[in-house]
Each structure stands twice: as structure tokens, then as C-alpha cells.
Symmetry: C2
Subunit: 359 residues, 2 copies
């Protein structure tokens, strides 16, 4: 059965993506409106599971890299993903057949859809993180041995840079250095992959999962107390293998700076009975600790939902005084190996914790 | 008459280039040895004046960008310029017919010769600065309205980045940000130009001039007192329109750091009769002041020669206790317009001086 994404799916897809973005991935609101408009104009997009990809497919991953705060001021027009994909094909003399989000999260989940809609391309149902994470080497693609380049970055004034390196950590350093002088955020087309690559490396089914999760979140909007059991039940049968509440309270302190091409900060949350938790942020919510004890860390997902609306809160929307519930969701199996944890575990992100799976 | 550069010309060319480099451009010693070896293997290189270029020429500028101190530790093998040019042709699908140094200075004067020798290409007798300067937008090419890209940068491990922007200041920012995460120095192939572009924009004849200057410097080696009048006479009939001694003394203080992709620092020179001069450095010697009075500033050339040997001293070879003469040489006419001085004058380089030509 062929799945499609139409204009009426986009709001749910974005909402579910914000939940899976664990605070990062960029606020999807503008991308949501642009994608709805594009799908109304060009028609629905075909969603292809990795197993159903034709063997001669050339898939590229797309998304925005940078500090999500920047996107709150530097609004997109809507043709950027199409321009990026065309510039990539022009620069590499390759013809792309499918696109895939490099992460499922916030605006980055739907960004490839904007290019796909305009070009009539199908989108792979999956992504390269099963969540959002701050750096390129943390994607499941390089963890499976896939090279990131040729990769192209395009900035707000259509300047492009084409990278050629085999080492994703080097690519990340180059990209991060560049985007800081290219307006703080760039759109990337990267990780050219075959069907076999995608089957081996992508986290499958996350676009349709995000849509389904978003539909659930829409149905329980305004009912956090009653809605939470539905969220927990939803995750039991997914590749995330579970979800639980880690903490609840009020945001009493929050500081964030845009530094080194990331939004970096901490939030303090106090519970009604006087307990305190601290959340470490680098674009995403990376760890929650009570005292010195980590309640959860990357690569497990840490998501904040609003106490009243039950809706997920992106880090750039977090503010003093919000009452929140902090949820922990299990990391995809791609991130549970020792080799992967060297790259996506708390120590790789500068946090002095040892990863203990919450699931 | 066709001019050529053979293996026996390289030492003089490098020596003259260090003089014109005003402290920057990188120490040429290793490049000199590599170029001598390449010219012995491949034969002499044809030197073509801009006026003699065929109309259908495609010229690219080459050189190394970064902090010259890095090159003192990160030694080249010799095939880097060839690799860079091949990567450029591959990435842009263009066939290069001639190369030109982006600056006449230190190792950068002969670097394009390494690629030219291996490929049998002629070299344009000229460059894009008539000296060395720290940033790309300070070249005569962009001052004449020529776009810097497609441009390619390659690092010590053959990672490449292909830039596409019309704005040379943006290109410089991107390049500088990148090279700091690519080992501190990259080799660039940039400013693709037609014969008409070169005729309008290049500083002509500087390679043969550097060779002639180097031969003069060789002939007066060890005779600074007697040699200086010969240097002064030499410059009278050149596009630099003159040379004079600005100061003489001993280096009594010198500090330098590699910061932001540049070697930045100051040197203090005390004369025998108790006067003090200060030299501001950003890769190149940018200004010399006595008290608050500038004796010379960019774009005029400031060159230090050793008191005993009369040979020019690159900034990365400058050291405490050296006895030196500071010479000022007029800037090429390309830099004397108001528009050019906005880009290469002292204020553009962060110095609180107004440019007063020494000539």
C-alpha cells in the first residue's frame, strides 16, 4: 500500500516531529505553512519505505544546520529546498530520485517535502536520527559507514559551498565553521545514498510515525493529565520501545546563548514538592539531572510537554514560568551499540554522565 | 621575446618575492626546493605577460591562505598545487590554460609554478596584489570587479571545498572560517579569469620583476650599507615608483599569536640614538609608527632587511635582537584609488591611521 502526505497531514507531521525533536530541529511553524501551500499546489507526495525503494535510487538527505534561534528571525520563503537540490544536482552532475530528512525533528522533517513537492519526487519514510541531534556525525548514516559528501550547503543569499571529505566529523567541523559566517544557518544536501545504503542506515518509518504521533497529540490537546497514558501506550509498539514521565514542574531558570553555531543553555525546573531538575541543552535537550543523578541522557529522547496543553515545547519556545512535564523515550536501536554511543552518548556531547537506557 | 623560468631562476625569484611580501606570503624555502626539483624534471616554464595572453585563455589564481606560521610545521610534499588544480578542473568541468599567483610574496609566488611545471602550462607574469596582503578582497582582481568563484580550497589531507559566491568579502569570510578547521592553511584555486580580465586587473610583470630584484639582492648579499642605494635605484623605474629607508634599529620586543586564521602581532624596534618604532603585523607588516606618527602604512610596502646580510626578513623569521632596516616602497597604482583604499587602506585593516603615500 502506497502512503502519501497531503496538505492536511502536514500539521500533524510537524507536531509529532516537534515531540521527536527533543527541543531541537527548529520551530516548524513557517515550514508547516509553506509545505501545506506547496502540497496544495503540487499535490500529495509519495512516501516510500526503505524496503520499497528501487535499487537504482539516488537518495540525498536534507535539512537545516545551525542554531534554531536564527530561524526565528531569518524566515524562509519556501523555494530554498528546491534551490538547494537543484544546486546540488548541478554541482555534482547527479540526478536525485528521492529525498529523506537528515533528522526527524521540527522544521527539518518537512523541509525535504518542499523540494520533493516542487519536483514531484517521492520521499523516503525515515530519517537519519530517529530524533534530532546537534551534529552530522551523530546521524545513523555515518554510523553505518556512509560518507557525507559530495554535500552542498546554501545560505540565505544563495551562496553555496560544496564539500568533499570522507570523514563526517571533519565535514561537521567544516560545516559548523562555515555556517557561522553564512548567517548562522545553512540548508544542506548531503549523504548521497543508494537504496541499499538507506536500508542499512536509515531509521525507517519515522515520517509516518511522526504523523501518527501528531494526530494523537492533536486529539489530546488540552488534556495533559488524561492524555499522557495515550502517549505512553503509543510508544510501546514503536522502535523507541517506550516512554515515561521523568519529572514535572515549573521552569524557574533558563539561560541560552547562541555560541559556536549552536543554541547552548540550561533550564532549571522545580517540582511542587521542592525537587529540582536541570536540563542541559545544545539545540536539543541532552540530559536531565536531579542533584547529580542523571534521570536520562542522550541518545534517549528527552521531550518537554506543556502541562496545560500537553503539546511538546521546542527549546527556542521554552520560557520562564512554563509548567512542564519531562518525558523520556527510548533511543532507536541504531544508537544502542558501543560504537554508536562513542558518538552520540553523553560524553561525546561534553556531559559527564554514563548512558543508562531508560527503557 | 618569450621569457622562461628555469631551475636556476627559482632562488632569485623567491628572494625577490620575500622582499615584496612585506613579511607575509609564507616562507618560500621548501617551495623553492620543490620548484627547483620540478623545473629540473619537467623543464622551464613559459612566462606570459598579460598583453600576450591568447584571447581564449582561462587563467586561475593560486596560492596558500592561512597563517604562515602553520607552514613552518606543516611541510608540503610538492604535488599539492597539481592536486588542487586537477580537483578544480574536475569540480568545475573547466580546462585551465594559465595560472597566476594570487599574490607576489614568499612561497606563494612559486606555488603556481609547481602545478604549471607538472602540467606544462604557462604562467602569467603578474599577480593579484603586487605584494602580499592578508585577505582575498584586497586583491586587484575583485577591485576590478572580478568574482572570486568558482573557487576551490584543498587541505593537507585532500579534503576539498568548492565555493560559489559573487562577493569576495563573503568568500574571504567563508574561506577564513574554514581554513581554521582545515589545519590552519589551505591551498586555493580561485578567480577564474579571461585574458581581458587579467589585462584589466592583474599587476603586470611582477614575477620577472621579483626575479630581477632577487638577483640584485643576491649580488649585494652581506653589504647592506653599500647595497641599499642599489635597491633604491632599482625601484625608481618600477611600478612601485620608489623605495626609501624609514627606520633602522634592533628588534627589542616582538609578540605574535596565530588568531582568527592570521599571524597577528607587533614588533618594537629601537634605534641607536634612542628612537622607537612599532610595526603592526597581520601576516604582513601593515604599518610602522614612531610615537603616534605613522611613517608608512598599507597599501605601501613595508619591508624589513637584515642589517648585516641585507636580505629581507619574513615575519615568521623575525626575532628578538635582530638588527634591521625598515624600507618603504610605494604601492602599485591599482591600490591608489579611493575605492581601493577603502579595502586595502589602514582603516580596512583595523589601524587608526590615514594613508599618506610615501612616494
Amino acid at each position: 500500500m502506497t502512503q502519501t502526505i497531503g496538505p492536511d497531514d502536514v500539521a500533524a507531521l510537524c507536531l509529532g516531529s516537534v515531540f521527536l525533536a527533543t527541543g531541537g530541529g527548529g520551530d516548524p511553524y513557517v515550514n508547516q505553512l509553506l509545505t501545506e501551500k506547496a502540497l496544495r499546489k503540487h499535490g500529495s507526495i509519495q512516501l516510500v519505505m526503505p524496503d520499497a525503494l528501487p535499487d537504482d535510487a539516488l537518495v540525498v538527505a536534507m535539512g537545516e544546520a545551525g542554531a534554531p534561534m536564527v530561524r526565528m528571525e531569518q524566515l524562509p520563503v519556501g523555494d530554498e529546498p528546491l534551490k538547494a537540490l537543484r544546486a546540488y544536482e548541478e554541482a555534482t552532475k547527479r540526478t536525485v530520485t528521492h529525498v529523506i530528512p537528515f533528522e526527524i525533528g521540527g522544521g527539518n522533517s518537512v523541509l525535504p517535502l518542499l523540494a520533493a513537492a516542487a519536483l514531484g519526487l517521492p520521499v523516503v519514510d525515515g530519517d537519519g536520527m530517529g530524533r534530532a541531534l546537534p551534529e552530522a556525525q551523530m546521524m545513523t548514516f555515518p554510523l553505518a559507514g556512509i560518507a557525507p559528501t559530495p554535500a552542498l550547503a546554501i545560505d540565505y543569499r544563495d551562496d553555496t559551498v560544496l564539500f568533499n571529505t570522507k570523514d563526517t566529523a571533519a565535514y561537521e567541523r567544516q560545516l559548523r565553521a562555515l555556517l557561522q559566517v553564512m548567517g548562522g544557518m545553512v540548508l544542506t544536501v548531503e549523504f548521497p545514498m543508494t537504496a541499499a545504503d538507506i536500508r542499512a542506515a536509515a531509521v525507517p518509518g519515522t515520517l509516518s510515525l511522526a504523523r501518527k504521533l501528531g494526530q494523537l497529540l492533536q486529539s489530546i490537546r488540552g488534556e495533559a493529565e488524561a492524555g499522557l497514558p495515550h502517549i505512553i501506550t503509543f510508544f510501546e509498539t514503536t522502535l523507541y520501545r517506550g516512554c515515561k514521565q521523568l519529572f514535572a514542574g515549573k521552569v524557574v531558570d533558563f539561560e541560552r546563548r547562541t555560541v559556536g553555531g549552536f543554541d547552548v543553555g540550561t533550564a532549571q525546573i522545580d517540582s511542587l514538592n521542592g525537587e529540582t531538575a536541570r536540563i542541559d541543552i545544545r539545540n536539543e535537550y541532552l540530559a536531565i539531572t536531579a542533584g547529580d543523578t542523571p534521570l536520562a541522557t542522550v541518545p534517549d529522547l528527552i521531550t518537554l510537554i506543556d502541562e496545560e496543553s500537553s503539546q511538546p515545547i521546542n527549546a527556542e519556545r521554552l520560557s520562564f514560568g512554563q509548567r512542564v512535564r519531562v518525558l523520556g523515550i527510548g533511543a532507536p536501536a541504531h544508537f544502542q551499540t558501543d560504537a554508536a554511543l562513542e558518538v552520540v552518548g553523553p560524553k561525546a556531547l561534553g556531559l559527564p554522565f554514563t548512558y543508562t537506557p531508560i527503557a
